[in-house]
Subunit: 358 residues, 2 copies
Amino acid sequence: MARKISSSGISRRSVLTTIAALPILSTPPLRTSARAQGADQLPSWNNGPAKQAIIAFVQATTDASSSKFVPREARIATFDQDGTLWVEHPMYTQVIYCLDRVPALVRQRPELRERAPFKTVLSGDREAIAKLPLHELEEVLFATLTGMTVDQFSTEAKAWIATAKHPRWDKLYIDLTYQPMQEVLRYLRANGYKTYIVTGGGQDFVRVYSQQVYGIPREQVVGSASGTTYGYNKDGNPILTKDPKLLLNDNNAGKPEGIHLMIGRRPFAAFGNSTGDQQMLEYTHAGDGARLAMIVLHDDAKREYAYGPAQGLPDTKVGTFTQGLYDEAKIKGWTVISMKDDWNRIFAFEAAGSRALQ
Amino acid sequence: MARKISSSGISRRSVLTTIAALPILSTPPLRTSARAQGADQLPSWNNGPAKQAIIAFVQATTDASSSKFVPREARIATFDQDGTLWVEHPMYTQVIYCLDRVPALVRQRPELRERAPFKTVLSGDREAIAKLPLHELEEVLFATLTGMTVDQFSTEAKAWIATAKHPRWDKLYIDLTYQPMQEVLRYLRANGYKTYIVTGGGQDFVRVYSQQVYGIPREQVVGSASGTTYGYNKDGNPILTKDPKLLLNDNNAGKPEGIHLMIGRRPFAAFGNSTGDQQMLEYTHAGDGARLAMIVLHDDAKREYAYGPAQGLPDTKVGTFTQGLYDEAKIKGWTVISMKDDWNRIFAFEAAGSRALQ
C-alpha cells in the first residue's frame, strides 16, 4: 500500500466538479447477448489497435500450429486493479474503507479518540484529512487493516463492500468496474488463460470480493500483504492474526517479485495503468514469444476521469501515469489503451456502445 | 528450511544398514488399469480406517445433498512433501542438492575453497558433514539456493533432479514418491479438489518438478521462500535475483500462515508426517463441516524407514513424529496412517499389493 498512497492525492473536489458531467444515454442499447461462435467477445471495445492487439495475442498463443503457441498451464495473465479494473479516483476504494472504519475502531479503543490522526478522521473534515502526512495515513491503515483475525477482517470488509457507494455515480464501488476489462478477463479465461489480480491494494481486502466481482478466485489475488501470526483463541481454537507489518509491498518492483512468490511463472499478458505497474509490464513483455503489455490511459473526464500527467493530462498522486512511462510504452511496443477512444462503454450500467455511436 | 534442518540428522549410516533389506517381489502384480466407474481409486491402500476416512470425506463433501457438501471452489487439500509424499531419510533431498552444488559454487567463488563449512563439504567426509553445526549448514544452503537469478536456479535444480539418485534404492529421488499418496492426489483432483504442496522445503526448488512428479502446477506449491529483488542485467533486461533472506519459513506455525498468504482459504484436507505439520493439521481440522487431517507414521523399516519417536520408534531429527503429536492426533480425531499396515505398496516400481499379499 504505502508507496501508492500520498496525502496530497486525497481530495474529493474533482467529484464535485465532474458529477454534473455524466453522459446522457441517448442511444438504444446494442444487442450483446450473442454467444454464437464468431460473435464479438469484446463488444465494449472500439475497433482499433488496442482491440486488435488483444485478439492477435490470443490467436497467436492458442493456435497449436503457431510458433508462438503457449501451453495451457503457462497461460497466465495479470491485472492491476485500481485504475485498471475499476475506478480509483478520487481515492483508492480501500483507503475510503480504512477511513470509514475509524469510528468503529475508536469505539473499541477509546484512547484513540483524541489522538491524531484519528481525531482528524473523526472530524469528517475532508480538507484536513486530505492533508494528513503519509506516516499518519499509514497509521490509520495499519490500525484498521491489522490487529484482528483474518476472519474478523473478512467479515468487516465484506459488510462494507456490499453497501459502500461512490459519491459521483451513487453506485456501489463493486459496480464501478470497467466493462471492457471484464470482457478481456472473460475472453482470456475462455481461451485457457488463468487470470490474476496483482494489486498494490491489500491482498486480504481484494480477496473478499474478487470472485463475485471479477470471477477471480481468492487464491489468484496477489496484493500487498501483512504477515499473520498463528495462535489460539480462549477456546483453544487456532486463529490467524494480521500483523501490523508489511510482508509484501506489491507495487513497482514488488509486483514482479510478488508474481514470482505467488505464481512462480512469468505472465504472458499484463495490464496496468500507472507507474506502480511499470516493472510488471517490463517483466511480462521481456519474456520470449508473444507477450501482451497494455496500459490504460485515463483520458476521459466526461465519462470517468482524466489524469496523467502523460500527454498533458492533469497530474495526480493517485494512479500516476508519467510521460516517461508513456514513452517507454511506445518504445517497447506496449499498447496504450485510451479510455476515450478505445472503449465505447465504460460501465455495465451504461448503455452499450454509448460512445461509439455518438 | 531452517527449523527443519538439524546437523545431528545428517547421516547415511542407516542407508548402509538397510540397503540389504529391500523386499523381495515374489508376487505377480495386480491389475491396476481398471478405470471403470466404481473401480478402486486407492488400490495401494489396504482396507482399514485410513482408506475409509479418505473415501468417507470425499463422499460427504462432494454429495450435493449432504450437509457437509463443499462447493467446488472451496475444495482445497494441502500436502506436506518430505516424508508425506516422498522419502525424506536419511536426509531431505534438497539438502543433498545443496551439498552437491558446493563444488560448482567453489569453482565460481574460489575464495570459499579453504573456508569452513565449504572445505568440510568438499572433503566428502560424511561423518564430518553430519556434524556441521546448524549455522554452518545454513551458510551452505543460502550460498547454494540464493544469489543467482530465479531462472539460473531453476536450470541448475532441474538438471540435478533429473539425474540424482537415492543411494539405498539406486532410483531417482523423483521416483521415490509414495504410490498411495499419488493415488490420493489423483482421487481428490478427480473429485474437484485443488491439491497443493505445503512444504518446509524451498518453494522454488519444489516448483521445478511438482508438475512432472505430482501433477501439481508451480503456482500450487507453497514452501519456504527467500525474497527476490527485481533488477536489470547488462543488456537492460529485467531479472529477479534470489535474496539470502527468508521471507516465509513454511514450517510449524509458518504452514497455516503460508497457506493464508498463498491460498487465502482454510484447507478441507491436510496431510503431514511430522511436528512441522502440526499447526497445518490443527488449522485444517478446526474448520467447520467435514475436515480430513491425516498423518503418516513411518513404521516400516523393511520397505522404507522407521522413525518417530512416537510409538517407541527410533528417534530422528529428520521428520520427527513425537508421542505428543501422536496423542494429539488420537484425541482430535486425526487419522494416523501406518505405512506398514495401511499401504500394500509404497513405490510405483514395486509390484502392486506386495505387502497385502505377503
